[in-house]
């Protein structure tokens, strides 16, 4: 793989223990506006987001898709809470700590009609801006929005040409609930200090989730295609879905198949082990897979042995589903998604057994990058696409 792609900077930064940085502007020009660019991967298990600081430093954030209306805490430290339209709520790990709800999974058109998910998305974007050091107040955003691969479909253009585009039902729900939305958010931190944020979504660029990975692995930060690879297979082991995408680079073409469930099958296996004593919803179980610990009778317990067991069973089932792709020699293989981190050792063992060479035959995206690539790619997709829009 060429050394100047976006993913190479991400890996180099992770290896050197620094934040990745790109010589790219954090805003784009859309008509008379210069909105801030945010990439967002609306995953079933977590919202993943990316934004650039003014100096090009990339900030990413992952928030589990859990929601709970906030209660008054009588003692101890407060929790970070958000208020939108008079409802105060917790999200992510805070919500999980207080037995929050895992929000429904499914296609975008079903998920976005749930106001809790929309509030979670709004609060998550606000939290991303906080983490990136942006000041409270009004922010105009253009949102790169990752959607399931199967929601990018063949369409007929205005002049009768065949082209790819967003599924009409997905488009409708994004236009109704996201594009043009203005979210007024009060963020109250653990010390009770409140800040007011107003986030306006000026424009939305939906794209297939795996397209983010393709962009990051084939393009330089300035948008030039710099890889010498002509064809590749991308295996995206996500929280909800296991996706296989065949990609041609010049010109860009993508064909996608959903092979089955993603790491949620491993998470559910873990949940079944502890039921009925512990009731772990899907998002909570996914968090246990990542953190390797769980709260039992008021104490944090190491759950590594249980996680290892379910990985050896359910994880092997995921690898079996993609074995044909791993074995073929015609195309370069990129393995990414949160599941690539979870199943790293099992994948490496299988690839070595197939005599595959890392860097030559495949790349296994590691560190914490694998779960963020689609969101990072969505951010760059906005920057690249906006460059082609006439002012």
């Amino acid at each position: 793989m060429a050394r100047t792609t976006i993913v190479h900077e991400l890996i180099a930064a992770a290896d050197e223990g620094r934040s990745p940085q790109f010589a790219i502007r954090n805003t784009v020009r859309l008509g008379k506006l210069t909105p801030l660019v945010v990439g967002l991967d609306n995953g079933n298990d977590a919202v993943k987001m990316a934004v650039l600081q003014p100096n090009g430093v990339l900030i990413t954030l992952r928030i589990p898709t859990a929601y709970r209306e906030a209660a008054v805490i009588r003692g101890g430290d407060g929790e970070v809470s958000y208020t939108i339209n008079g409802t105060t709520f917790w999200i992510g790990e805070v919500a999980l700590r207080h037995d929050g709800d895992a929000l429904p999974i499914g296609p975008t058109r079903q998920r976005l009609i749930d106001s809790r998910l929309r509030s979670l998305i709004a609060a998550s974007i606000g939290e991303l801006l906080v983490q990136a050091g942006y000041a409270p107040g009004e922010h105009t955003i253009v949102l790169g929005f990752s959607i399931p691969n199967n929601e990018i479909v063949p369409l007929r253009g205005d002049e009768g040409e065949d082209r790819l585009g967003v599924d009409p039902e997905t488009r409708a729900v994004l236009e109704t609930h996201v594009k043009g939305a203005t979210w007024s958010i009060t963020r109250t931190d653990a010390n009770g200090i409140a800040q007011a944020w107003s986030i306006h979504i000026a424009a939305v660029l939906p794209q297939a989730q795996t397209a983010g990975t393709v962009i990051c692995t084939t393009k330089a930060p300035n948008g030039a295609t710099v890889t010498d690879i002509e064809e590749m297979d991308v295996i995206d082991i996500g929280g909800g879905d296991l996706q296989h995408t065949q990609v041609k680079i010049s010109p860009y073409q993508m064909i996608n198949w959903r092979l089955g469930d993603g790491t949620i099958r491993v998470a559910r296996g873990l949940g079944e082990r502890f039921a009925p004593r512990l009731a772990l919803n899907d998002v909570a179980a996914q968090q246990v897979l990542i953190t390797r610990r769980m709260l039992v009778s008021g104490k944090w317990r190491d759950s590594s042995p249980a996680v290892r067991d379910v990985l050896n069973s359910q994880g092997q089932a995921i690898i079996a589903a993609v074995l044909d792709v791993l074995r073929q020699s015609k195309r370069f293989v990129v393995i990414t998604g949160g599941g690539a981190i979870l199943l790293h050792d099992l994948l490496i063992a299988r690839l070595e057994a197939e005599a595959k060479r890392r860097g030559e035959d495949y790349e296994l995206i590691n560190h914490d990058i694998a779960s963020m690539l689609n969101a990072i790619g969505a951010l760059f997709a906005v920057i690249f696409r906006a460059a082609g829009k006439k002012s």
């Binding site: 430093v57 208020t83 295609t225």
Partner: protein, 133 residues
Amino acid sequence: MGRTTTKGIRLTPAELHRAARLRDFFPEVGEEAELHKLVFLRGLLLLEAEVAGAGGGTPPGISEAELGTIVLPRILAVLQLLGRLGKIPPLLGAGDWSPPSLEQRLDAPLEQVDGAIDATAAQDIERIGSDFL
């Protein structure tokens, strides 16, 4: 909520203006009366903590530990102001109490960067089905 009683107090225009200014920080507060109730309760909490600190006991049903826990976040917020003014005595420790600014969080200088984008990039994005709604 239990039975409530209306009590009137006289406030100057300046005091009303100071209270009204706080509304921006509590958008979930609706009417002016709700804002004034918030101001009253926060002040009551602080006074109760002052009295407890001076050995005057706590309101019925609340222990010193509970009162201390509830008032702590308010005190921490005030300490941020005092810290910036250099008013924290050595007993409480020295250090920068101000929240980290964007500049302090950065690994590199804050200069806005502005790189040119390759002419083929926009078309590649459109080709894989992605365009602005």
